[in-house]
Structure formats: C-alpha cells, structure tokens
C-alpha cells in the first residue's frame, strides 16, 4: 500500500534580481522596465520520483539548498510542483512551525478552535479533544486569557499540543522537534512513537543525522534537487558525510573548520572550530594520543546568561563517540557575550584512533532549546599515533578508542609477591 507517491516532480522558482542601476538613466525608467526583465530561473527539484509505503518511516537528508524544504512544502501542499504529480493517500499533517494562526486578541480556548480547524479538525472533534489538548500543553489556568499574555514557552507548547492531537494517516516532521524543556520534549517524542506504533506513515526531513538514523527505516539523500542515494539509513548517511568531506577545505595553515552552512538569521552561531596544540597554535595534523585543544568560536548577537556549548565526534555511521558540553554534561554555565566568544575543550591524550570522524557543534539554552546545531560541521581525519608499546598501530576499523589501560599478568607459582611480571605493559 503506497501512501505517498511522487512522479517526475520538478519545482522551478523564478527569482527576480534587482538589476544594476545605470546612473545615467533616470530612476523612473528603471522602475518601469523592471517587469520586462526576465527573471532568473532556479530549479529546486529536478525530476524527483519516490514512494512511501504505509507505515514506513522515511528520512530525507541533504545540504541546505538541496531541496529538502521544497519537498516539505510540496507534500504539505503549501505550493504546487512546476511539473509532475504527487499523490497522497490519507490525511497528512505537518508538525512544522507550530503556533501559526494564533490571533493575539483571542483567548487560548478560542485560538485552539481557530488553529485546530485550520489544521483540519472538525468542531466536534475539537470539543472532544479540548481537555486533552489543554492538559498536554499544561496551560489549564490560562486557557481563558488572551494569548498575547502567554510566555513564549506556553505559546509553543499550546501550538505543539494542538498539532500533536491530530490523528493523521501521514505525519510530516522537520527540525521543529527541539522545543520546550526536556520533559515536554519527552512527551512529544512519546507521542510520535505512539503514532509510529499505530502504523502512521512518517516523513522526517532534518539535519539531525542521529535522530534520522534512530527514527527512520529508509533514508533519501538529496543533492541539488536530485535524489542521489536511497536505502539503508546507515549506508546513506555514510555516503552523505563522505561526500561532505571532499567539499570541506582546510584553511589558515592548519586544522580549522569553518561553518559550512552559515545562517545570518541566527542569534547565536558557531563560526569555527580550531584544532590547537599546547602552545595555542593550529595543529597541522591530529594523531591518536596527542595533546589537543578544540577551540570553539561562536558569535552572539545578544547577551545570554547561561548558555550551553557542545562539541561532538561521530563515526560516519552516526554513532556518537564523544559528545561533551558545559551543560548538561560538565555542570557549569557559560555566559554568551555579544560578539565573538570562545571556549576550549582539552584532551591530554586524544582518545580516538586513526580514521575519519564527523565533527558536530551545538549552542543551546541547556534543556530548553537549541540555538544552533550542526551535526555535520566538519570532517575530522585522525592520523595514527603511537601510544602503546606493540607493533600494531591502532586504526578506527580495529578499535575506535585508545584509552589508557594496563594488563595485569599473574605469575603461576607465586607466593605473595607483587602481581606485576615481565611482559606486563604500562602505557604512557
């Protein structure tokens, strides 16, 4: 049973560019000729075809500009394709951009009716679910006050609660999952799991490779408007991260990663991560066992009292090997000051063995919301380093971690001497 089918779908956007103003001609002429200028064509999607089976959880990944949000808009019928056909069997609900349709003068109750009917619920259905919606959002005392009085958290929770009470046949999800505190996020995830178990078909479009891998049974990789890979999540994610490595360049005479997808609209954004040695200079190469400091540099447009900074390293399959943060892992706050901020993460002996890893960064209001997150910030290649005494140099195929350890070998005919013997190896 096929729930969604795209057949030869293409989408073209016409971008009108402001032409250079010729100083010699009067401005009025320029304005009049404006509609005559041919707009610039941009093909966001080219000849896309795929199907989603009933009950399947499909993930769609790709760089910014690959066409992910265009597919999202087409599936949600917010826009129409330039050619091709999309067939949807059943009721589709998109859990994206919650809180749209709220009118500030109306009360919470009135807005529930308004927003829920825009999302497709019938009035009788809304009345039936009203109690549960209020309960899920946790705004029982404020249900009859105008929403302009609500805090941003309440606003978001109410919007999400309404969307969570839709009983769609097909669910469309995007990055919006990271809202509310940890308890609320857990509630939302539980709801999505419930829907999944009930056989709801899911389409998940995201940058969060780890969640995509956890939730989806099949993944599509988009690049410049075309599907370039499709299949097992692990394999497709590997293709994606491998392709990204070739695109990343090393700059500034040493190991340094700059933000591959800068977004000027963000209030807080990581700009780069430098790989430094003990003297604070950029390392040329990072090897197993090296002393290393990862310097995370981010820009803040405003002051933030207690911010969280996270650095992670994943295998190409998306397994998180290292994922440390000041909060909630190490338990101390960092204040974000307007302008550039830095913090260093130090390893006395870098524990990963030779291989290719993915660097991830994150800025957050700990346990509340992500401010900036990129699970594919850079491709880190670690070189072989000799830290143990044997001949064989570890690589990540063999053993990903190089952790200090000791072998203790017993002597067979021992009275009560020390349990160290020739052949026991101590590592540095």
């Amino acid at each position: 049973m096929i729930d969604i089918s795209l057949e030869h779908v293409s989408k073209r956007y016409l971008i009108r560019q402001e032409a250079q103003i010729d100083q010699r001609r009067p401005a009025v002429l320029h304005k009049l000729l404006q509609p005559l200028r041919r707009p610039h064509e941009f093909w966001a999607l080219r000849d896309i075809s795929f199907e989603v089976q009933r009950g399947e959880a499909l993930g769609i990944i790709g760089h910014n500009g690959a066409g992910k949000s265009t597919i999202l808009k087409l599936l949600a019928n917010i826009t129409t394709p330039s050619s091709g056909e999309i067939t949807i069997n059943g009721r589709l609900s998109a859990l994206i951009e919650v809180g749209s349709g709220f009118h500030p003068e109306l009360t919470g109750r009135e807005n529930i009716y308004l927003s829920a009917s825009i999302l497709g619920m019938k009035r009788t259905e809304i009345t039936r679910k009203l109690e549960s919606i209020v309960e899920f959002a946790g705004i029982h005392e404020f249900i009859d006050t105008p929403v302009k009085r609500y805090s941003s958290g309440m606003y978001v929770r109410l919007g999400f609660s309404i969307a969570a009470h839709l009983e769609p046949d097909i669910l469309l999800l995007d990055e919006v999952l990271a809202v509310g505190d940890a308890a609320f996020q857990a509630k939302c995830l539980k709801r999505i799991k419930q829907l999944e178990l009930a056989g709801t078909t899911i389409v998940f479009i995201s940058h969060d490779l780890y969640s995509v891998k956890r939730l989806c049974s099949r993944v599509l990789l988009l690049e410049s408007g075309r599907i370039i890979a499709s299949g097992d999540p692990g394999e497709v994610i590997k293709t994606y991260t491998h392709a990204s490595r070739i695109a990343h360049t090393e700059s500034r005479n040493g190991l340094s990663f700059t933000n591959p997808n800068p977004d000027p609209d963000l209030q807080f954004e990581v700009e780069q991560v430098d790989v430094l040695d003990r003297a604070g200079r950029l390392k040329q190469e990072l090897r197993t066992g090296d002393y290393v400091r990862f310097r995370i540099v981010w820009r803040a447009k405003e002051y933030l009292e207690d911010g969280g900074v996270e650095l992670g390293m994943y295998t190409e399959n998306g397994v998180p090997l290292i994922r440390y943060s000041n909060q909630p892992i190490s338990g101390f706050d960092i204040a974000f000051r307007p302008g550039l901020n830095t913090v260093d993460l130090e390893f006395q002996q870098f524990p990963l063995t030779a291989g290719d890893y993915i660097l991830s960064v994150g800025l957050s209001r700990p346990m509340i919301a992500w401010l900036h997150r990129n699970d594919n910030f850079g491709a880190l290649t670690v070189g072989q380093g000799r830290i143990f005494n044997g001949e064989y140099l570890l690589t990540s195929d063999y053993s990903v971690m190089a952790v200090p350890h000791r072998w203790i070998v017993p002597e067979p005919d021992l009275d009560d001497r020390e349990l160290t013997a020739p052949g026991a190896v101590e590592i540095l």
Partner: protein
C-alpha cells in the same frame, strides 16, 4: 503531461481520501475538485467567519453598531448634498429613504471589495505554513459583509415604517438580487485578492475605483437620470452589472414595483460568467502564492 500512469494499489483497497497535487491547468473542469474540497472545510469557513466578525467588533468601541452607522451616515451626507443642495429627483419617494435603499446594498459590495483585497497578503504567515483552500480567506470577508448587510437592513425596515412606505410582495425579489450580488461580490473578492499577490500596488487603486464605480451606478440618483446622456454612453453605462442590482433593489423594496427583468438578467449573466473565470485565475495565482508572498 501524459496521464498513462498505472497506479499500483488494487481498487477499493483504501478507504482513505486520495489527493493529487499537480500544476493547475487552464480548464474550468479543474475547479470541480476544489468545490468538493470546500464542502469538507465547511467547519473552517464557519469558524473563520465568526472569528472575522467577532474581531472586527471586539476592536472597535462602537462595536456592532458600526454596521448601521456606515450606510446611515453616508445617507445623511448625500441627503444634505443631493436633496437639499442639488435637488435631485428621487422616484416619488423621500430622498432619505431613496438614498439609504441604494446605499445599503452598495455598502455591502464596497466592504467586500475593499476588505478582501488584502485577504491573501494579510495572511501571508498562514499561507506559507499550512494548507487549506485559500479561497476561504476572501470568502469570509464576503460572509462578514453579508452579516453587516443583514444588520443594517433592519434600519431600512424601521425607515420604511417611519416614512409610511408600503411593502409589497415584490420585496421577495430581494432574495435573488442578494444572491446575484453575493456571487458577483465573490468574483471580485477572488479577483482582487489574487491580483494583490501578483501586483502589490493594486490595493492602492481600489478606493478610487470604488468611488468612480459608485457614481457610475444609480446609488444616490435614479436610473432615469441617465436619459440626459448620449445614447452610446447610455449603452456602455448599462453594461455595469451593479446597475441592475442597485436599481432593482430599490424598485422592489421602496417603490413596491416588480424588478426590471432585462436589467436583472444582464446582471445575473455577468455574475455567472465572471465567477468561474475569477475562480480559475485565483486558483492559478494561489498555487504558487507561497513562493512569492
């Protein structure tokens, strides 16, 4: 675009509704599924219309009386101007009620046009985020206008009692008249709201357009006065569909006469022909409105 695509699901396997999304064609036949869909969204139309009406009156101090004050105050102005100063004839009824009976349906038409122009552009955040049939937005302004009209018509009844104007059975012709007016209003609402998306300067011209249109329609003067105009100008004048509606409304309510069927059928014809064309234009614009709004 060929249609020889074989569908894999066996017949009757789904009790689910199927929706097909594709580029909008040129034929009016593509409007049928849209009409069917509108029926499903009946609840939303109701909720949004109630919301529209509530919001309008919640925000103004005068509240619901604004529906009455608007035609009433215009009537006072025009009575002062045209009855006292210019001394325009009024078909053997007192000018005040003559003017009000014309202003009442005209105000309905005018409010629909001026309010619905921004129906899409004013809700750009909704349009770019969630799907629902976009025609619901201008439609709710038509419904709100109709509501105001019904409220204000109570004053007309009061005035008729006051001026002792007799009511005849012909008054029931107001029903088809209002239907034609509503259909025509819908076409204009669809046309204007869609045009505003493509050409943002459109809305600026609307107040002027409405003013000219009002004077080209026998709202504050009787239709008989156009006999002063040359013949070819008269012919063009009569092409205005609002002529048949406004003049006949006055005829059947205040003058107690049967309607001028020739004029009525002209207006009805225009309304019925323009509506599917306006709807098709609307659908085409709205299909990609989210890209440019």
């Amino acid at each position: 675009m060929t249609n020889d695509i074989v569908r894999n699901h066996p017949a009757g396997s789904t009790s689910r509704k199927q929706k097909v999304i594709r580029a909008i064609g040129f034929s009016p036949r593509s409007l049928w599924p849209s009409l069917r869909e509108l029926r499903e969204y009946g609840d939303l139309i109701f909720t949004l219309s109630v919301h529209r009406i509530k919001v309008r009156y919640k925000q103004s101090a005068l509240g619901i009386s604004w529906a009455i004050l608007q035609p009433l105050s215009l009537m006072v102005i025009y009575t002062a101007l045209f009855s006292r100063v210019a001394k325009i004839p009024s078909d053997n009824v007192p000018y005040t009620i003559f003017a009000f009976a014309g202003l009442l349906p005209w105000t309905y038409f005018q409010s629909v046009l001026s309010n619905s122009t921004n129906a899409l552009v004013g809700h750009s955040s909704l349009i770019t985020k969630v799907y629902f049939p976009r025609e619901i937005l201008p439609l709710t302004y038509v419904i709100a206008g109709l509501f105001d009209f019904l409220i204000a018509s109570s004053i007309l009844i009061v005035m008729m009692i006051y001026y002792r104007v007799p009511l005849t059975a012909n008054v029931f012709y107001t029903i088809p008249l209002i239907v034609v007016l509503t259909l025509f209003g819908c076409s204009m609402a669809l046309l204007l709201s869609a045009s505003q998306v493509r050409f943002r300067d459109f809305g600026v011209a609307i107040p002027l357009l409405l003013q000219i249109w009002m004077f080209a329609t026998p709202v504050v003067y009787p239709l008989s006065s156009i006999s002063a105009l040359p013949d070819n100008v008269q012919r063009i004048y009569l092409l205005n569909p609002m002529v048949g509606i406004i003049e006949n409304f006055r005829r059947v309510v205040v003058r107690g006469l049967p309607p001028d069927f020739h004029l009525l059928s002209m207006s009805a014809l225009v309304a019925v022909v323009v509506l599917p064309m306006a709807y098709l234009y609307f659908k085409r614009v709205v299909a990609t409105a989210a890209d440019i709004i």
